[in-house]
């Protein structure tokens, strides 16, 4: 029986392999090739058979991240040989990633693609922060990027009173996010939680407010949870 090659785009969740969906685990278990951005996803990729080929396409110590076209070439060429290819993306799959562009490019080449959602890194970070949104209000998840080809996030429009914002802040973007929200009328005392590595050993959570966020010198890549009330009356320890 001939097997048609497929690229399965899979949301790997926030990090804990136990947070993979059943479908994601099943696809990994049948994978011939697993393509990830970083060795950080190794624990998740471990669900693939030991014989499966592993490919890293993200930024490494000596190498920049692969350009989109090269990733698509890699995925398409393995699928073209009849292989089951699993492309792992962090979190839910699409939010803040280039998965949508990879899907478009693969389909344009006639490659069969499936899409499998994962647990969102945004809600995992928000849960880890110990905060909860005000019921009945909106929650916005956003990723900032200074790439000129990427449609910008309209932070001004996100400074709504009472709404909750979860932002993936790479590098020093937290300064600009804080400044723009404050300039658009958000209160300086609006609570902010910074979360690193949710659901992983060594999860770090820090609490501040929008004013404090803007004043922060440096921050590792963190997920910012801006605006919700904190759970319970106890201050963060």
């Amino acid at each position: 029986m001939t097997v048609r090659g497929v690229v399965h785009m899979v949301g790997a969740g926030p990090g804990d392999p136990q947070l993979l969906t059943r479908r994601a685990a099943r696809l990994l278990g049948a994978a011939d090739v697993v393509v990830t951005d970083r060795p950080a996803a190794d624990e998740v990729a471990a669900l693939a058979p030991p014989t499966a080929r592993r490919c890293y396409v993200g930024e490494a110590v000596d190498d920049p991240a692969w350009p989109l076209a090269r990733i698509v070439d890699l995925l398409a060429s393995h699928a073209g040989r009849g292989r089951q290819v699993v492309r792992l993306e962090a979190g839910d799959l699409f939010v803040g990633s280039r998965a949508a562009e990879e899907v478009e490019a693969l389909r344009a080449r006639g490659v069969t693609v499936t899409t499998t959602p994962g647990v969102s890194a945004a809600t995992a970070a928000a849960l880890a922060s110990g905060t909860v949104p005000v019921p009945g209000t909106t929650v916005t998840i956003a990723r900032d990027d200074d790439d000129p080809d990427v449609v910008p996030v309209d932070w001004d429009a996100l400074a709504e009173v009472g709404a909750t914002l979860v932002a993936f802040a790479d590098g020093a973007r937290h300064h600009e996010i804080a400044e723009r929200l404050l300039a658009a009328g958000a209160g300086a005392a609006t609570p902010v939680a910074l979360v690193c590595d949710p659901t992983r050993p060594g999860t770090q959570v820090a609490h501040t407010d929008l004013h404090g966020l803007g004043a922060m010198q440096a921050s590792p890549p963190a997920t910012l949870v801006i605006g919700p009330v904190r759970r319970g009356a106890r201050p963060h320890r």
Partner: protein, 279 residues
């Protein structure tokens, strides 16, 4: 049902069950359900509890949510559910509170976890797939896209934002009691009716069909039923053609297609408040 064994440290697990599709249960949720002796759950995901926790007593919480009524009432609390959770597990009992979607956005989670904490009952919270992200993803609709929208707003169906700005996707859930067309109509009253939009109709939390059009088109359609409404440039994405291919070739992934844990006849509407098993 309220009793406790103070001598034994016990844990209640508060777990996100995802939209209701058995394929989207996490491995963590699956193993917790397999070991559970008591599951307190929402009507919308009660079929998951019945399938994956066959040995557990399953109790459906009227706190439900995140349906429209729950959201209107704010953080809903049901006294019986809380008594079960706060009473704490007896020796040998393993209690799971299975939420539809992700706990963080569930209207009952804040109050239930706060009361557990105040009552000194150890509990852990486990995230699950968010309905608003997972259901569109299953049919290939990317809720963010670097050339179309890098922000996605998850809104309650009753109180949608006044406008959807460019560069941002709006997603909202219409439950069985509601209708995706009705939700689209509420949005259309205050928004731009020419915006691209899509409704992913769901049964038991699993996607069934995708209808695309402008927000105005969908607002006039009263045949859509329960589903997830996506508004913004990503809703026009051609990637949505994936649905047919995914559903036939990829989703089922071969031999296991529909074989394990398919919701079958467990229509959420017909789920009774208390189950027979163990009662």
């Amino acid at each position: 049902m309220t009793r406790s064994d103070a001598s034994r440290p016990t844990v209640v697990e508060l777990i996100g069950g995802g939209p209701g599709d058995p394929d989207l249960l996490t491995l963590r949720a699956e193993s917790a359900l397999a070991a559970a002796t008591l599951v307190v759950t929402d009507a919308t995901v009660a079929h998951l509890a019945r399938t994956f926790a066959p040995n557990a007593e399953v109790i459906v919480s009227p706190a439900g949510g995140p349906d429209r009524e729950s959201i209107n009432r704010g953080a809903t609390v049901d006294g019986d559910t809380l008594a079960l959770l706060v009473g704490g597990p007896r020796a040998g009992e393993r209690v799971v509170r299975l939420y539809r979607g992700d706990p963080w956005l569930h209207p009952a989670y804040a109050v239930e976890s706060a009361i557990l904490a105040a009552s000194g009952v150890d509990h852990v919270t486990v995230p699950g797939p968010l309905i608003e992200l997972a259901v569109p993803t299953m049919v290939g609709i990317p809720v963010t896209h670097r050339r179309r929208a890098m922000a996605v707003t998850v809104a309650p169906p009753t109180d949608p934002p006044r406008a959807v700005d460019p560069g941002r996707t709006l997603v909202t859930v219409a439950d069985d009691a509601d209708d995706a067309g009705g939700v689209a109509a509420r949005l259309a009253r205050s928004g731009d009716t020419s915006l691209p939009a899509a409704v992913v109709a769901t049964v038991g939390g699993s996607p069934r069909t995708v209808r695309r059009g402008t927000l105005g088109d969908l607002a006039r359609d009263r045949t859509l039923g329960a589903g997830v409404l996506v508004v913004g440039a990503v809703a026009a994405d051609d990637a949505g053609d994936a649905f047919g291919a995914d559903d036939a070739g990829g989703v089922g992934d071969g031999g296991e297609a529909g074989g394990d844990g398919a919701p079958g006849g467990s229509d959420p509407d017909s789920v009774r408040q208390l189950t027979e098993d163990g009662a």
